[in-house]
Symmetry: C2
Subunit: 536 residues, 2 copies
């Protein structure tokens, strides 16, 4: 286990590697990162760099009274001489073309994307790309050099839409209740992204006008809200997206300040509750071409799970709820300084570890997961989650048993931090949803749990969590430990891969076409499996 | 000749046929319209109706838990069943798709344009189109039924950019001097067009959301200012356009309120001072396929002239100045009520006719043209434009001779209306520019004036003017009169033709590729020809 010091150092290191704004963002301590997590990062290098944009150096003869070609035609014909025929020039590029060509003295890089000029840049400019993962809670953005795939800068911020609803459903409700709700939520996230882009570019000594391509992933609701798409139908059965396919949308149409003709690629969604972020994760972790039987999942309010087996991809989404984000837990909180994130319980004592080594102020997802697993280990609660054992730290509160992780003395907020029966029940619901999803996929594929050869856990919480605890409470399959990989923000990695590689976008499209989506709400066995999985 | 009553009636009729807002717009009195003018209108009927949009009736199965396709995929697959594969859905259409399909109970018309859905309309909706001619002075807009080519409503308004400069050059200067000048000029014309669209739709009992396609023509500067393109380089030698080719731009990107995915087609420009309006005129008048030798011109501050001869198309633009719009003329004014628009001079008297039969307040282009021609006829001025003859109406003003068209008594503004030597000189400059342009084209083609078999005069002023006067002062060639056609707003007609016919757009593209543009400013003979043409 880790000392409080180790954890604190890990957190600081993480903060350095992953610059944060003033908001609190869940960042995995480096010391908790498994080698596998790095290997996902490592795979970036293995990805072939084949960006969808190409730069051509053009030297144009200036116009004179014997050569009256328009600026656009002049550029098009120069490109044609380089073998690039019939390129289109979008209006946003035409808006600048005349000043730009003259300012650059008729020598420039023309950046071409699928037959369209997206930017006219100085000869010495680097080609930059932007990758973003729009999480319900957090935005992660990366600035890349498109030519070599290098990540030049990273940034994380809270998703500002949180002020309009903590989760997807409440944001959809906000849009339903406010005529301009969609516009407001869209604007908020776009403003934040533009600020992040400014910051990333400043950090890399660049300007947003040189960012010629972007890839943005998110769950289906975040995808729709970002693009201003209708979300009402996402909030009610049968929960269909407005659009599933990949989209390429001019950045200016989305309100993002990049190169004038830059496009934003939005990879495809699988279903109303399995979005492009899961697709990106599947791309990055390569489950799409797994020759082994693999489970890959990303735990959140909705947990998306994909099972790869014998060339098939089975996917489902389960409503695991926000308990692991600290919601619906009496003393729950997000992973932020002061959150109890590790718990060890022995016969007579409790050890807690907090993020940043701060006085405890509450408990975050990995902490509550540990607490429940440890209470099971020492026999304090039974397989129904009921307090049955004895422990000096068990107290009675309002006639109910509760486990006191830390008394009010020494806490940051002056109140004790406890885990009660209700909290345990929330964890039961969450873990049962996830386990049931896995079980249904296995059943669909006709295989048993022990046939699963790889188990990939993505996302911030998935990286934080103590694997033993997750297995102990029955959330994950009890497989040999070497089959597990905790891979961090694989969605962000997938977005970066798709940014620098057109082939990876094809992989995503192909993957979505191949996926067999299993709708759990109508699945005949789901209720039964779920009820069974409630037990520890 | 026409009586004042006839003219007044003509003006009123014109106002009925061509609804005007509260601004003064030059409208040809119907009684002055030649049959040829109508035949240009008549050619619309001869144009094959092959719009670039096609409507498909779709009946979609609503989604349910067994059929979770996204709304976009649902629509795409329904179109695919009708043989329209792989259509794209632009973001603006996706923004509405979910509400729209549900509101229409999953039965709709999908309007498709070059593989893209531009609108989802109720089954019973008509497909509408918009044609606009953006003149430097006037905007003319037409609402058409795309299915049968019928013009449902027309409107004319002043170009609001006039407040920023009467002519093209002063508007370019405004943009050069104001950082947001281009944006301001763009916004003003777009706002006015949106208001006109509202009005046209209201008149036809329609809504702008059902306008699924538009064609907009204008001279190169108006084209650039409307699309927000750079104009600085248009204002200085060698006067190259930012873009010459035809453009198809989403209406929303231009700020026009039409169907969500509607496109605006901007036909190609030939040169910095020969724009898409001249191309539209050439399309409408069919000089592009003339088997006769023909001259076609549109008189304005710049007069564009095309000579069609033996399959060749030679085009030039001459700086004829604003004299025929009433500028630089002592008592000059635009064609508006009270403008003297016809003048007859005999040995001892003068007869004047005003627009709207109002008390005279000034003289417009056709009036000053008549006045000069009549002064020549009665020998009052010589071929240099110098007053040499005697007439009771000649007075001395500031030591110079001037012809008094009407004394101050009886005028609308309480001041006499005169024509002085300086005014005559302005007309000499204008007519010489136009005549020299014609001569240079003829010389280029190696033909003599009498070989010209057709002479087409387009535009509002071209329709107003007295042909005999124009020939008398040497502005036009002295050909048998039956070879002349005054065709009214042929640019507007050409725009309407291109609106309802994709083939006509191809004609325009082909025509622009074929045109041999002659730059007069560098033409070796131009100065000489011009000096000679100054004489009457």
């Amino acid at each position: 286990m880790f000392s409080a010091e180790q954890l604190a150092r890990g957190y600081r290191l993480a903060c350095q590697a992953y610059p944060l704004s003033d908001v609190k963002v869940e960042v995995p301590p480096e010391s908790l990162a498994t080698p596998q997590r790095l290997s996902i990062e490592g795979q970036e290098i293995a990805v072939e760099i084949d960006p969808v944009v190409t730069s051509y150096e053009v030297h144009l003869p200036p116009p004179n009274l014997e050569d009256l070609r328009s600026d656009a035609t002049r550029l098009q014909q120069a490109l044609s001489e380089l073998g690039v025929d019939g390129v289109r020039l979008p209006l946003t590029v035409l808006h600048q073309i005349s000043e730009r060509l003259r300012a650059l003295d008729w020598r420039a890089q023309a950046v071409v994307r699928e037959g369209e000029v997206v930017a006219i840049l100085p000869l010495e400019s680097r080609l930059l790309g932007l990758a973003v993962d729009i999480g319900t809670t957090k935005l992660a953005a990366y600035l890349l050099n498109l030519t070599d795939g290098e990540t030049l800068a990273k940034a994380g911020e809270m998703n500002p839409q949180i002020s309009y609803g903590e989760d997807v459903i409440s944001r959809i409700a906000y849009c339903d209740q406010h005529p301009d709700g969609r516009q407001i939520l869209r604007n908020r996230v776009v403003e934040t992204l533009n600020r992040m882009i400014e910051g990333l570019c400043a950090e890399a000594g660049e300007i947003p006008e040189h960012v010629v391509e972007a890839v943005i992933v998110g769950n289906t609701a975040m995808h729709h809200l970002f693009a201003g798409l209708p979300v009402h139908q996402l909030g009610m059965a049968p929960y269909v997206p407005a659009v599933g396919e990949a989209l390429d949308i001019p950045a200016h149409e989305l309100g993002l300040h990049l190169a004038p003709g830059a496009y934003v690629h939005l990879p495809p969604n699988i279903a109303g509750y399995v979005g492009a972020d899961h697709v990106a994760m599947a791309v990055a972790t390569e489950v799409w071409q797994a020759d082994k039987t693999m489970v890959a999942l990303d735990i959140g309010t909705n947990t998306e799970i994909t099972l790869a087996v014998e060339g098939r991809l089975l996917t489902c989404s389960c409503a695991s709820g926000p308990a692991f984000e600290g919601a619906h837990i009496r003393d729950g909180m997000r992973a932020a300084p002061g959150a109890i994130e590790r718990v060890q319980i022995s016969r007579d004592e409790v050890r807690i570890f907090t993020i940043g080594n701060q006085p405890p102020v509450g408990i975050c997802g990995s902490g509550i997961l540990d607490a429940v697993a440890e209470m099971l280990n020492v026999g304090l609660i039974d397989n129904r989650g009921v307090f049955t054992g004895q422990h000096p730290k068990v107290a009675q509160q309002n006639g109910q048993s509760a486990f006191v992780l830390t008394p009010s003395e020494g806490t940051g907020q002056g109140k004790e931090v406890i885990v009660n029966r209700r909290d345990i029940h929330e964890i039961q619901l969450a873990k049962s949803a996830i386990r049931s999803g896995i079980e249904v996929l296995l059943e669909h594929a006709g295989i048993t749990p022990d046939q699963v050869e790889g188990f990939i856990v993505a996302g911030a919480f998935g990286t934080y969590l103590n694997l033993e605890s997750a297995i102990r409470i029955g959330m994950f399959l009890d497989l040999p430990r070497e089959r597990f990989r905790q891979v961090g923000n694989a969605a962000g990695t997938g977005a970066r891969q798709m940014l620098v590689s057109g082939k990876r976008r094809d992989v995503a499209r192909d993957l979505v076409r191949r996926v067999e989506y299993i709708e759990l709400t109508t699945h005949r066995d789901f209720q039964e499996v779920f009820m069974k999985a409630l037990y520890f």
